[in-house]
Amino acid sequence: MIDKTVATVAEAIADIHDGATVMIGGFGTAGMPSELIDALIAQGARELTIVNNNAGNGDVGLALLLEAKRVRKIICSFPRQTDSWHFDALYRKGEIELELVPQGNLAERIRAAGAGIGAFYTPTGYGTLLAEGKETREIDGRQYVLEHPIRADFALVKALAGDRWGNLVYRKTARNFGPIMASAARCTIAQVQRIVPLGALDPEAVVTPGIFVHRVVEVVVEAANAGTAPAPGTAT
């Protein structure tokens, strides 16, 4: 029998090792698996490479992982925000390495890793600072830049509901990087608002098929509005 469910967030992230590359879902705090990140901070892994769209917001989740100085390098598209003070401080002190990637290239590099693509040519970034030193090529009269996949040891994603096979459905714009990160990591850990019985998710509506997910942990978050709507594709 396949049972990917795990009882606690601590157990779910226990084997994340020093120096690991960890993808973390979310766009700002929408879809950020904050409880998994809190568990990772408590677990103590350091020298991490983090892949996320941003570099932490306020004093929650990823921002706290940065503040705890567990992150050696961050790969992201939009670090500088009004509430990214923990990243800003580390960056100005030279205590964190930044790889800045245009958002669509970030998404496609993650997707490429999950899809087994060796590298791909993209027009985004051609002629800019962010393509300096990269191989370029003209195809059908248009200029492209060669970009390589981003793979991870672990992906931490947040979804609305999941079952013991790891099938996931998301909620609204909290979906963002979840499905592609789930496919790009050796071990994908999903925190879900609720675990539902096998068969409860409508197969037509499953967004991330369970093959991409290795662990599912239920984290009930009592936030205003969050998760109070019926799960899309939930039969129960």
Binding site: F27, S77, G104, N225
Partner: protein
């Protein structure tokens, strides 16, 4: 000197967005365009964090932290809306499916090069987000910005001095002084604010502008 107000600029951009268009409005000034879209046109707004069919801000108290726009502000989803992941969202841009995007800018060159992501200042923390993908992905790229910097320098330039976002990507420039079209023969004035002549506009801009 007369200037278009921000709302007049937004209304002028909105006038150029056709019925049925799929449109992305960038962070900042361009978000104002949403308030001026003609009611008799069905225009579908895309936000790159994963929503087509974005609606206005929710009523106070009805905000949903899982339903936000690219500026991380709470929004609503209209009937007919769809949610999708980031790779699909950027395929909509890069794949040429978006009809139009409206972006802010630091500088635009006479050839349509855009600089809007980084001042290049040594102490600036760079951030790019979806700017590069939007600039070269949308079929039409409209830039909305003030014509001059606070110190009176033209933001329309013969060549960008700030780091570029994408090359030869801008179709039209909407400023507080004029609406300009980028053509293979250079810039052409579509509209000029009342009381400003074409030669005076060109002088303020420091580049040649045709009529």
């Amino acid at each position: 000197m007369n200037r278009y107000t921000r709302d007049q600029m937004a209304a002028r951009v909105a006038q150029d967005i056709r019925d049925g268009a799929y449109v992305n409005l960038g962070i900042g000034l361009p978000t104002l365009v949403a308030n001026h879209l003609p009611k008799d046109r069905e225009i579908i707004l895309h936000t790159e964090n994963g929503l087509l069919g974005m609606g206005p801000a929710p009523a106070p108290g009805a905000e949903d932290p899982d339903l936000i726009n690219a500026g991380k502000q709470p929004v609503t989803a209209l009937p007919g809306a769809s949610f999708f992941h980031h790779a699909d969202s950027f395929a909509m841009m890069r794949g040429g499916h978006l009809d139009c995007c409206v972006l802010g800018a630091f500088q635009v060159s006479v050839e349509g090069d855009l600089a809007n992501w980084h001042t290049g200042a040594p102490d600036a923390i760079p951030a790019v987000g979806g700017a590069m993908d939007l600039a070269l992905g949308a079929k039409s790229v409209y830039v909305m910005m003030e014509h001059l910097t606070k110190s009176g320098e033209s933001k329309i330039v013969s060549q960008c001095t700030y780091p570029v976002t994408a090359l030869r990507c801008v179709s039209r420039i909407y400023t507080d002084l004029a609406v300009l079209e980028v053509t293979p023969r250079g810039l052409r004035a579509v509209d000029i604010v009342d009381g400003l002549s074409l030669p005076e506009l060109a002088r303020l801009s420091g580049v040649a502008i045709g009529s």
